[in-house]
């Protein structure tokens, strides 16, 4: 009795907790509402399964608990039942997987008009780089890193000359424009994580990773690191500010470009009229 009742109570508690507890995700600030939708579908399907299975179990425990004279039913297997259950489960799984894969495809397909920006991680702070007037980022490599050139931009690449370098400050982005965030680390693994954007991706030294999103809400959003990167991991914070276009331009105008830094003085500013080939880092 107590056991069956406790099982029922666990279901009731879980469902109630889900429905009324104040703990839920942060209001979204990007186009990745699809992810939230898939997550909610998954919650419904799995919640229904959990409720049904545990309640059935509670009923069994109640109905078939030992009493003097009770004899268990003898039935080693039932092909029909097992096939039915397999089929139903496969259907439920497919109902979650299909939308999941469709959304994943969107997640990894970057729109052509996305602006490329770069986030650089190191123990334990964030830096950023935005393309200058040429709309392209110059190449970079850890071997270029020095006190004067903290992000390791290639001083011989003229595409990099007008790149805006934000070393240790906050990142601003304009609302409504898709961005492809290129992620780079100079030391260990990190992960650029803004809960309100839903997207995240590890940064791996030696390679460039990416994700894309479109900001849909102005405001200040905290950046956290989501991949263990040493003692300062929990304190590796920053802010991304999503601005209206005009504010953004105003902010952008105040930033330093690479050519303005000591290490970049020798670089020629790129001629936007005749771009020279790709600059994908």
């Amino acid at each position: 009795m107590i056991v069956a009742a406790s099982l029922v109570l666990i279901v009731l508690f879980s469902v109630a907790f889900h429905l009324v507890s104040p703990w839920w995700w942060t209001p979204i600030a990007s186009n990745w509402g699809y992810i939230d939708t898939t997550l909610v579908i998954t919650f419904w399907i799995t919640g229904a399964v959990f409720t049904a299975v545990v309640l059935f179990m509670a009923w069994c425990v109640f109905r078939y608990r030992h009493k003097p004279g009770r004899v268990a039913h003898y039935e080693p297997e039932s092909k029909r039942l097992e096939i039915w259950l397999t089929a139903l489960t496969a259907l439920g799984v497919a109902a979650m997987l299909a939308p999941g894969l469709v959304v994943w495809n969107r997640f990894i397909t970057v729109p052509d008009d996305a602006t490329e920006i770069e986030v650089v991680a190191q123990q334990w702070f964030w830096s950023y780089r935005l393309p200058g007037a040429d709309g392209q980022l110059g190449s970079s490599d850890v071997t270029w890193i020095s006190a004067d050139n903290p992000l390791g931009l290639n001083p011989h690449d003229r595409l990099g000359a007008d790149d805006v370098v934000i070393d240790g400050g906050d990142l601003h982005l304009p609302i409504g424009k898709p961005v492809k965030v290129l992620l780079r680390s100079v030391d260990v693994l990190h992960d650029f994580y803004v809960p309100e954007f839903r997207a995240k991706m590890d940064m791996v030294p030696g390679m460039v990773t990416y994700f894309w999103f479109t900001p849909t809400r102005t405001g200040e959003f905290e950046v956290l690191c989501a991949e263990l990167c040493g003692t300062g991991h929990g304190y590796m914070r920053g802010y991304v500010l999503i601005d209206e276009e005009a504010e953004y331009e105003a902010w952008l105008g105040e930033q330093l470009t690479f050519a303005g830094l000591p290490a970049g003085e020798g670089v020629q500013v790129a001629n936007t009229a005749e771009p020279i080939g790709g600059s994908d880092p």
Binding site: L7, Y34, T38, V61, V142, M201, E222, G234, Y235
Partner: protein, 590 residues
């Protein structure tokens, strides 16, 4: 060659090899220290695993104290916090769960359940334990080494694992951890070969594969998986040790640490992750499959009913074991690996949910129309089903690649894997201890203490880990000693304090369990021969507890599967496997 031919009536084949006695101990050392008796080795394995597991339990209290009451305990610095979670995680997964299921339950139950006198290689079996013991000593030594244990996280991802920004990275911590893992794998390999060969070669006459209890199927499949998976961790550990000590660059690209160029170059951190998870994902099932097997048997015995769909259960174990080798990269969806991998690994991962779900259904269908005795093993089995189901379902979130993106590396993940591979297998371990303690010691564990232990552990663990999912949904990352952030409402701190109180309570209940074991060893009620009226072979030995060599003059003969409970027309509600009497009515009974 024996001249006996197959018995036409029972189908029992003739003996293929003579029945040799296992080696006998002659003195103190060979009896009590370097024992070659699998039952004694099992207890050595279990005792060591539980002892180091207690360290991991205490570490979990410290972790929770920091999270529940940040700033109150100032000896828990960020460095210490990372050392605590790393050692807690690694000990729990490898040195406790893997060791106790395979080295502990495997050693005790395999020979008894398949009707053998001992493992086939008793000397290697003894060696296996002592190498494991050495691995535990090396691991424990890292607490006292300069710089303390490693704080790299139980995943030990390079480059940070061997750099100065991580506790123990350029000191002793990571070296001792890797050496300990290498020793563990050597020790396990010796034991594992033994378990697998014993199951394949030393079954008694009549014990066909399809008559083995699911416990043995679970342990056997897990052993084979471990023999295939651990080598990946072995090479990864050796390579990382070289990177750390010899300056090679297997996993190290060119990098700048704190403004200084290091001499590494050309290696790939992602390769380590592939190797780690090629081991790490099967590892989840190495822990889960023995639990699946054992819980099946607990449910059948205590519901007086054959396990529903035995053949399906066997195939599910084997299929899950095989599939679990092609899902590893679901731990790496946001690692930066090629995004197309996501399609493949999400699909395989969700496919594995189908045989897993079937197992859950079959456990419950075994309860259905059963004769359920709410004994302690049954209660823990029910607790296992609830927590495993819960954790399995949240696995569908994390396996479904795009849903994992916001959730990965948050407390949601921590809650998920604790439910599914922390709490659930531990429920089975407790159920199994309550079930087999009478066989091992001849006495019952106290029921009253057991009830308190069960309810506090089950409800408490649910209260710890169910709400923790929602902390992760809010967005709190894992491995954060201090979770305050602009988007985290103050109420989360209250919830965290509650979780901590629950964790400390659950911890205290484990002390009651240890007391119960000690008390019952001396004072427990005498168990008698087969207190649960179980049909499987381990309860049919001439003496209980079984003596050296397990069986009397003759090895037992097996006439049926392990699940002949409540057979219509039979005189009792179970028929032991070695009982030639009543034939079963079901034509498919193996």
């Amino acid at each position: 060659m024996s001249s006996v031919s197959e018995d036409p009536d029972t189908g029992i084949p003739p003996a293929e090899v003579p029945d040799l006695p296992p080696p006998h101990a002659h003195g103190f050392w060979s009896r009590w220290v370097f024992s070659q008796d699998a039952k004694y080795i099992a207890l050595q394995y279990s005792g060591t695993a539980i002892a180091i597991g207690l360290v991991a339990l205490v570490l979990s209290w410290l972790i929770r104290m920091q999270l529940g009451f940040p700033g109150v305990f100032d000896f828990i610095s960020a460095e210490a916090y990372y050392q605590f979670i790393t050692m807690h995680g690694m000990i729990m997964v490898v040195y406790l769960l893997t060791a106790i299921f395979l080295g502990g339950f495997g050693n005790y139950l395999i020979p008894l359940m398949v009707g053998a006198r001992d493992m086939v290689f008793p000397f290697v079996n003894m060696l296996s334990f002592w190498v494991y013991f050495l691995a535990v000593v090396v691991l424990a030594a890292s607490f006292f080494a300069p710089g303390g244990p490693t704080g790299a996280g139980w995943t030990l991802y390079p480059p940070q694992a061997i750099l100065s920004g991580t506790p123990g990275g350029t000191q002793w911590g990571i070296v001792l951890m890797l050496v300990s893992l290498i020793l563990f794998i050597i020790g396990f390999t010796m034991g594992g070969l033994n378990y697998a060969v014993t199951v394949l070669q030393a079954r008694t006459r009549g014990m066909t594969l399809m008559r083995m209890p699911l416990t043995i199927w679970g342990i056997f499949t897990a052993t084979v998986m471990a023999l295939l998976a651990f080598p990946a961790l072995f090479v990864a550990s050796v390579m990382m040790l070289f990177d750390r000590l010899l300056g090679t660059s297997f996993f190290m690209p060119a990098l700048v640490e704190m403004g200084e160029q290091l001499s590494y170059g050309g290696g790939s951190p992602i390769v380590f992750q592939h190797l780690f998870w090629f081991f790490g994902h099967p590892e989840v099932y190495i822990v889960a499959l023995p639990a699946f097997g054992i819980v099946s048997d607990l449910i059948a015995v205590h519901a007086r009913k054959n396990i529903f769909g035995y053949r399906m259960m066997v195939w599910a174990i084997v299929i899950i074991g095989a599939l679990s080798f092609i899902v590893w990269a679901h731990h790496m969806y946001v690692s930066g690996m090629h995004p197309y991998f996501g399609f493949f690994f999400a699909t395989t991962t969700l496919i594995i949910a189908v045989p897993t779900a079937l197992k859950v259904y079959n456990w419950i269908l075994t309860l259905w129309r059963g004769d359920i005795h709410l004994t302690l093993p049954m209660l823990f089995a029910l607790g296992f089903i609830v927590t495993f189901l819960n954790g399995g379902l949240t696995g569908l979130f994390l396996g479904n690649v795009v849903v994992d993106v916001p959730l990965s590396d948050t407390m949601f993940v921590v809650a998920h894997f604790h439910m599914v591979m922390g709490v659930a297998p531990i429920m089975v371990i407790f159920g199994a201890i309550y079930h087999w303690f009478p066989l091992i010691s001849g006495r019952m564990l106290s029921h009253r203490m057991g009830l308190i232990h069960f309810w506090v552990t089950f409800i408490g663990a649910y209260a710890i880990f169910f709400p923790m999912h929602y902390v992760g949904l809010v967005g709190v990352p894992r491995r954060y000693p201090d979770i305050s952030a602009s988007f985290v409402p103050d109420s989360v701190a209250t919830l965290n304090a509650f979780i901590t109180v629950a964790a400390l309570t659950v911890g205290a209940a484990q002390m009651l369990f240890l007391f119960n074991v000690a008390w019952s060893l001396a004072r427990g009620r005498k168990a008698g021969h087969n207190p649960w009226r179980a049909a499987s072979l381990e309860w049919q030995t001439p003496e209980v507890p079984p003596r050296h060599g397990n069986w009397g003059e003759e090895l037992p003969l097996v006439y049926r599967w392990a699940y002949d409970y409540s057979v219509p027309g039979a005189p009792r509600d179970f028929i032991a496997q070695d009982d030639p009497g009543h034939r079963a009515s079901w034509s498919h009974v193996p």
